[in-house]
Symmetry: D2
Subunit: 189 residues, 4 copies
């Protein structure tokens, strides 16, 4: 078991949710590995790499083991990247996972959850373990191989603080049982 | 701990080795996760996808935890894909990991190790766990995300047969300590 | 000389221009080959293929020979893809060529210029020859090779209606003199 | 008409031909635009970029207008990149156009035709016009857009030395009539 100290992930302050009937909270997701994808709909790197990668993660891992959650952390062009604009974007880009609109701050451009997580910008991918602790944060591009290995390792950790190994559900050395789409032609990840 | 029965990986029957001062054997690699990449130098999918992925795996994981080994499993154009040709290929493509020439069979085109592993063709990637057992075999393309997760999960398993969890060396939920090259621009894996 | 009948390209009805100090008109561009790229900022194919291709065309051909002009032909999510939103998009995506906002129609979703050109959707690339006639229209993806050949052929045509061959300015069999950026690593076009 | 002096392309000295019932010669191809792709089968850039581009050119332009010809210009690993090896390579990579084996030189590693064309290495793409003159030579990568424009311009030149414009066969501002395959999904060229 990993005994290093890892801080609990800060709760999400979300103004509005899309793609979910009810708001998502970290406590309600406790026990799952969480892939939090922070993005801006007009950020080219988010559109070309971050979001497509998050969509692939959502497709590759069983949803009762890994939760992919998007967070629209708008810190520029705020008058344009409104929730209504985000909704159109999510529709056109067929984003399938829940996406929350980060709460604007009372002062300054950085929204509340983005600041709480000390994110440097977008895209930022944060990995939260089964115990609700921040374990990784990637600003910019991260390779699918490295990301997959980190997710695989987190899945192998016990959900509770008990420290005893449990049956490795979802993703084991035998593979990750779940909705594994065939790799599209020409796609390496 | 994973209690499913997994067969031990068959020993490699290799005619000649490249990129290693001494022959590699499975027993000598016991304790490491092994990524065995079977390929033919004139197989387009091997050159465009399989080998580049194996090179990325070699670069991403610490070498005392994950061993990447190539196997030249020639079953067609055998008069052309000779060890001398392979040597030139490995030089031109800058393949950095050890590569063994699969032993030709006394009869028939399928070389000995390829047959022992029941491989369907090339490229085939086989994952062998720390206990020397075959855990995955991918014929054709496998996404970096899925492959990374499988490697990450295997790294989380105990090296010995004792069944007790050990400190997760090399690759943990905190990441995979080792030579992580920055992702080249435009590369998703 | 090409004697086939080709209709004159319809004048552009533009509500607002970006990236140009003065409005662009077809008559003012007479004599140049015009590459008209119709897009919507939330159209994934436009963002991933159409606009990057238009940017490459803009970089590859001399601006006194080939004019690349963008047209924001919004026919859906009109409340979101406003001129203000487009301006932010053009800034974030570093679009270097002039872009006009197609005039909304009095009735129905299809804007005026889009309808005049009988475009099927976005992205649509229209090639207009030196004499102001529509010569090609591509809805969806067109390969760089084919597009380049069509542009090269149009550049070889006489600007005027005289029908006599002139010195092939700008782009000849010797190449296309102008700002040719080195192909970025990994880019085939 | 283009009055600049361009040297006639040197005749090809070929040891053996593949993918053609009879040897190809420059005089026999007079009147066509020729795309000469010099490569080595173990040259990574040739395999990943040069040859695939030549295959796309072969597919995009009518064969009575544009002739794509491969030239195996082996200057290293000559004991390995034999005609027999090349034949296996051409089969596995489904190369559809004629390929000639450049004649080894009596002395030194550079084969005869490669030296006659003053090629710097592989891959090298040489464009020869309808009158048999060298008009372009690209060592390394060339973008499809630029290459297409150069081919399109050369197609617009008169076949004979007469200087009079002829009907623009094959490729005009209206497009390039011929076998245009639909762009495969995800392919920009």
């Amino acid at each position: 078991m990993d005994n290093t100290y890892h801080p609990l992930a800060p709760d999400w302050q979300v103004q509005q949710w899309f793609n979910t009937p009810t708001p998502l909270t970290l406590p309600a997701l406790r026990g799952k590995v969480i892939v939090l994808e922070a993005f801006q709909m007009l950020c080219p790197g988010c559109v070309s790499h971050g979001l497509p990668q998050a969509v692939r993660v959502h497709a590759a891992f069983p949803h009762d083991q890994v939760a992919v959650v998007g967070l629209h952390t708008v810190f520029e062009h705020r008058d344009v990247m409104t929730p209504a604009a985000l909704q159109a974007f999510l529709h056109e880009y067929r984003i399938p996972f829940p996406v929350g609109v980060d709460q604007p701050a009372p002062r300054g451009p950085i929204p509340v959850t983005m600041r709480a997580y000390a994110m440097q910008g977008t895209p930022t991918l944060t990995l939260i373990d089964r115990q609700g602790r921040v374990r990784q944060q990637h600003f910019g591009q991260v390779s699918g191989l490295v990301l997959g290995a980190q997710i695989g390792a987190l899945l192998g950790e016990a959900p509770a603080n008990a420290g005893e190994p449990t049956a490795i559900a979802g993703c084991t050395g035998d593979g990750c049982a779940g909705p594994f789409p065939p790799a599209p032609a020409g796609t390496a990840e």
